[in-house]
């Protein structure tokens, strides 16, 4: 070290401040366009795309919808969802394990969503990193499939503690997966007491009406 004096600065600067500021800007924009924005989060393979596909088919004719899909590499999910006729925008994140608020702002510029749309963001399949990135969404929905076991909320508390709604998916497989439903519900209640829980199966259709009802109500609240 040279003769220059060193000094210590105490600054307390949040590392995610930039993302938080962009998320706040997104929120203002969504409000001015009366968009209802839902951030869909889960681990890979928990059934986000299948549930979303069915939701678009069933609800698309009743509510204007659009989707932003985040994926590491392929556009398979976007292609699947695009076949429903709902506008889909794909964000390929490369090696980045989450979507951030700036990516959403750019996607909205390109997608030009009409006012009053229900915009669903399918985040990158990951239960850790996306939890830290506010996208400006109004609601966070976390999915957990019965095939993943009962203790996901205990293993990934952060994401479950920030969920407005928890969807337990693939409930048609409950028995085959040996899913201990009472234990799972108890874990959810203890780790994420704030979250509403809806049990669904995109295949059998169980619980979907309740899920649609919730989306419908969220849209009415923003409209």
């Amino acid at each position: 070290m040279d003769a220059e004096t060193t000094r210590t600065l105490t600054i307390k600067h949040g590392v995610l401040l930039k993302n938080d500021a962009q998320a706040a800007a997104n929120r203002t924009r969504f409000a001015s366009q009366r968009l209802t924005v839902v951030n869909l989060l889960s681990s890979p393979g928990s059934g986000k795309t299948t549930l979303l596909e069915r939701t678009l088919v069933d609800l698309g004719p009743r509510i204007p919808m659009a989707v932003i899909v985040g994926d590491l590499a392929t556009d398979n999910d976007a292609n699947r969802l695009g076949r429903t006729g709902v506008p889909v925008h794909q964000i390929t994140t490369g090696t980045v394990c989450h979507l951030d608020a700036a990516m959403i702002a750019r996607a909205c510029d390109e997608l030009s969503v009409p006012d009053g749309t229900l915009l669903i963001i399918e985040n990158v399949g990951n239960l850790v990193c996306p939890a830290s990135y506010d996208l400006g969404e109004a609601y966070r929905v976390v999915l957990m499939a019965v095939t993943e076991g009962e203790d996901k909320p205990a293993k990934y508390p952060k994401i479950f503690k920030t969920a407005d709604l928890l969807l337990i998916t693939k409930v048609d497989l409950t028995e085959a997966a040996g899913f201990d439903r009472p234990r799972a519900l108890q874990t959810v209640h203890q780790v994420a007491p704030q979250a509403e829980v809806i049990e669904v199966s995109a295949r059998s259709g169980v619980g979907l009406e309740r899920w649609y009802q919730r989306l419908w109500e969220w849209c009415s609240d923003s409209g």
């Binding site: 070290m1 040279d2 220059e4 004096t5 060193t6 000094r7 210590t8 600065l9 105490t10 600054i11 307390k12 600067h13 949040g14 590392v15 995610l16 401040l17 930039k18 993302n19 980045v96 394990c97 989450h98 850790v128 990193c129 939890a131 830290s132 909320p153 205990a154 508390p157 952060k158 503690k161 209640h189 203890q190 780790v191 007491p193 704030q194």
Partner: protein, 113 residues
Amino acid sequence: MHELSLLMNVVEAVEELAARESFRKVHGLTLRVGVLAGVEVPALEFAFPVATAGTILEGAILTTQTVPVLCQCQDCRTDFEPLGTVFRCPRCHGLRAKLIRGQELEIGTLEVS
């Protein structure tokens, strides 16, 4: 594994600060990492030399401080540090806890010249 992109945010913030506070070199950096920040300290340490190479932070010593979780019970207003992932109030046993601390990831101090 978003530690590398988080560190790139750190580098950006420190470079902006360098212009404001007029320093040219960072010798040490303390990051305060909440237990619920979703960040792995070993991954931060591993990525640090990569993220800082060729920047004002190159060669700086990284120190991390763990910030424990602090909650406030929304029923009886007791502040408490929960054990594990269930935030149960030790006084009234309620589960309606508000997180006060433990999610943050922030730059604490910088040693600069």
